[in-house]
């Protein structure tokens, strides 16, 4: 200590913090989140979150609906990767009803789910780029998300909220056009992803913006109930696809990318790497689907007439099919009593379905374990002492989906 220090009286400098309100319609929040932040200059001292701005009472709604009518609700959970939610819901029903799906159905499901994962991660990562100031990447890769949507359209007729599949399989077989589009995607997408990576991954501006922003340790992440890419970025190799394989994920070879520090950059890298792994899985699944020959190559649903909707032509022409159609749609088919928990690896973490059935026509209680609802509560801890602009980046790199968060 030198002698030149000026000694100030205790209260000589007035310290003041500013309180600002971010959201619920702030352009930088990508969804309806409200954050009331206390700032010291540009640094976040504390933040308080309000959620529920798009609460739609999914769980209450599900108590009034037969199984098939719940599928459209699950679409609207994480709408960036609806097919994963649909499949997760169908897997839950299949677990409760004891339906075994054929291998070809499993592989087709895997193709669709991994496409959905790519679409989800692609939005998240390109938006991280936008928030760091690189709008070009977003505009560029959105073209390739359209390729995924075209495949969905070919399979189920719809783009975003897909309502894809049935209990026991798919509503129709994949057409040749669908496979052609899939091949086109497999060929063109790696180039685009490579370019997105070369735009951002080693870009100095991007690195300096993201490295060290919003870090979390593995212990805290686990305690906060993180799952999915955000947990893996913190260094925990937990992946539902590997730990509790569903839909024959055990037949595929892929790696789980893990990060180290759990900061924004690691989250970005993990998602990027997962997209490459998803490409690997899709390629393997596509090869496996091609191997089916003869009648096996036509299988697209399990043989469960009690739960699988009959073909539309038959409904119009055959009495029995009409009766089944009616019974299934109106929920008049008996459901076994029981409690079942099934989880799938959703776009942003472990998406769980906890269903209690009392044997009635609708679930007695259905609870969705929504990953981002659970990990968003760590946000004040993540952004404490970081810059306000980094707090925005942290929010987008967490991949928060308002519809899923508020259910």
């Amino acid at each position: 200590m030198s002698d030149h220090n000026i000694t100030l009286a205790e209260d000589a400098i007035e310290r003041k913090t500013t309180t600002i309100n971010l959201g619920p319609t702030h352009p930088a929040t990508h969804g309806v989140f409200q954050n009331i932040m206390e700032l010291d200059g540009e640094r976040v001292v504390s933040s308080d979150q309000t959620v529920g701005y798009i609460h739609r009472a999914f769980e209450k709604l599900a108590e009034r609906r037969p199984l098939y009518q719940i599928t459209p609700i699950t679409d609207r959970l994480n709408y960036c990767s609806s097919p994963i939610n649909n499949m997760g819901w169908h897997l839950t029903c299949e677990k409760l009803l004891g339906v075994q799906t054929p291998k070809r159905v499993d592989y087709l499901r895997v193709i669709i789910m991994e496409l959905a994962r790519i679409a989800d991660h692609l939005i998240c990562n390109s938006i991280v780029g936008v928030d760091a100031g690189a709008f070009t990447g977003f505009l560029y890769v959105m073209q390739y998300r359209e390729l995924i949507y075209e495949i969905y359209e070919e399979v189920c007729g719809s783009r975003l909220t897909t309502n894809i599949g049935r209990i026991g399989g798919f509503e129709r077989n994949f057409t040749n056009t669908a496979f052609t589009k899939l091949e086109k995607f497999l060929k063109e997408y790696p180039v685009a992803l490579g370019e997105l990576e070369s735009l951002l991954t080693r870009n100095r501006i991007f690195m300096e913006r993201t490295i060290g922003g919003g870090p979390i340790s593995a212990e805290r992440a686990l305690n906060y109930g993180f799952t999915g890419p955000n947990l893996r970025a913190a260094g925990v190799d937990y992946d539902v696809r590997v730990h509790s394989p569903y839909s024959s994920y055990q037949d595929f070879e892929f790696d789980i990318p893990v990060g180290k520090t759990g900061d924004n950059y690691d989250r970005f890298l993990v998602r990027n790497q997962e997209m490459w792994q998803s490409m690997r899985i899709i390629q393997q699944a596509y090869n496996k689907v091609q191997e089916f020959k003869g009648t096996d190559a036509e299988v697209y649903h399990a043989d469960v007439p009690e739960y699988y909707l009959p073909k539309k032509e038959d409904v119009y022409t055959k009495m029995e099919a009409l009766i089944w159609h009616f019974k299934i749609i109106m929920g008049e088919v008996d459901m076994p009593k029981g409690e079942v928990y099934q989880s799938v690896e959703g776009g942003n973490g472990e998406l769980g379905f906890y269903m209690i059935s009392d044997g009635g026509r609708t679930p007695f209680r259905l609870h969705f374990r929504r990953p981002c609802f659970i990990y968003y509560q760590a946000y004040p801890e993540l952004v404490k002492d970081s810059m306000l602009s980094d707090a925005i980046l942290t929010m987008s790199s967490l991949n928060l989906i308002a519809g899923e968060l508020d259910a």
Partner: protein
């Protein structure tokens, strides 16, 4: 460490004549060096081709709007290049997604902050009518709190449908009389929503 650099080695010369569209002049009487028409038409022409939308995206429809605004569908072609996220500088409020009751007052606040003339488009079933969510927490259509000009059906609507809704708005904007916002009819409409 070297890495490959990609750049465009065969640039294509842009032909401006192909990529720029001109709007037709409004009806009027013209001759050498002069043109007369109604002021309303000129103002409408200018307004409709330079709308500043404020995307009020809450859920799924917002993702389709992202697709609409991105390169593939490109909303900018309609003169809406600049998304304004600040309500005070924009003239078109695009409400996309479910509006919960908790959100209702916020939406109304945003509408009140916009300057006249302002238009509202309700994109998707939820914003138009509450959609499939007939529940205790969801506002059954935004027209319960603010007046709406165009409804776009769909859950979510395809980008083409959103573009169609946008073109309908352009039609409305182009034909609107400049006196409409001062008319008694319009004041009565706002009063119906409790807006002075």
């Amino acid at each position: 460490m070297s890495r490959p650099v990609r750049y465009n080695i065969h640039p294509i010369e842009a032909n401006i004549a192909d990529s720029v569209t001109y709007v037709d002049a409004p009806d009027g009487y013209g001759g050498d060096g002069f043109f007369t028409t109604k002021l309303s038409d000129v103002v409408g022409l200018a307004r409709k081709n330079s709308l500043w939308p404020m995307p009020y995206a809450t859920s799924c429809c917002g993702i389709e709007f992202m697709a609409t605004a991105a390169s593939h569908y490109d909303l900018s072609r309609f003169g809406a290049e600049r998304m304004s996220h600040s309500p005070r500088q924009c003239d078109l409020l695009m409400v996309m997604g479910t509006i919960a009751k908790k959100m209702g007052p916020v939406l109304r606040q945003v509408y009140l902050q916009m300057a006249e003339p302002r238009w509202v488009i309700a994109v998707g079933a939820c914003a138009s009518s509450g959609g499939i969510f007939d529940t205790y927490s969801v506002l059954q259509g935004i027209d319960q709190v603010i007046p709406v000009d165009v409804y776009v059906p769909g859950c979510p609507p395809r980008p083409e449908a959103i573009l169609d809704g946008f073109m309908k708005i352009q039609e409305l904007v182009g034909q609107e009389s400049i006196r409409r916002r001062n008319s008694d009819h319009y004041k009565a409409l706002l009063n119906g929503y409790g807006i002075q």
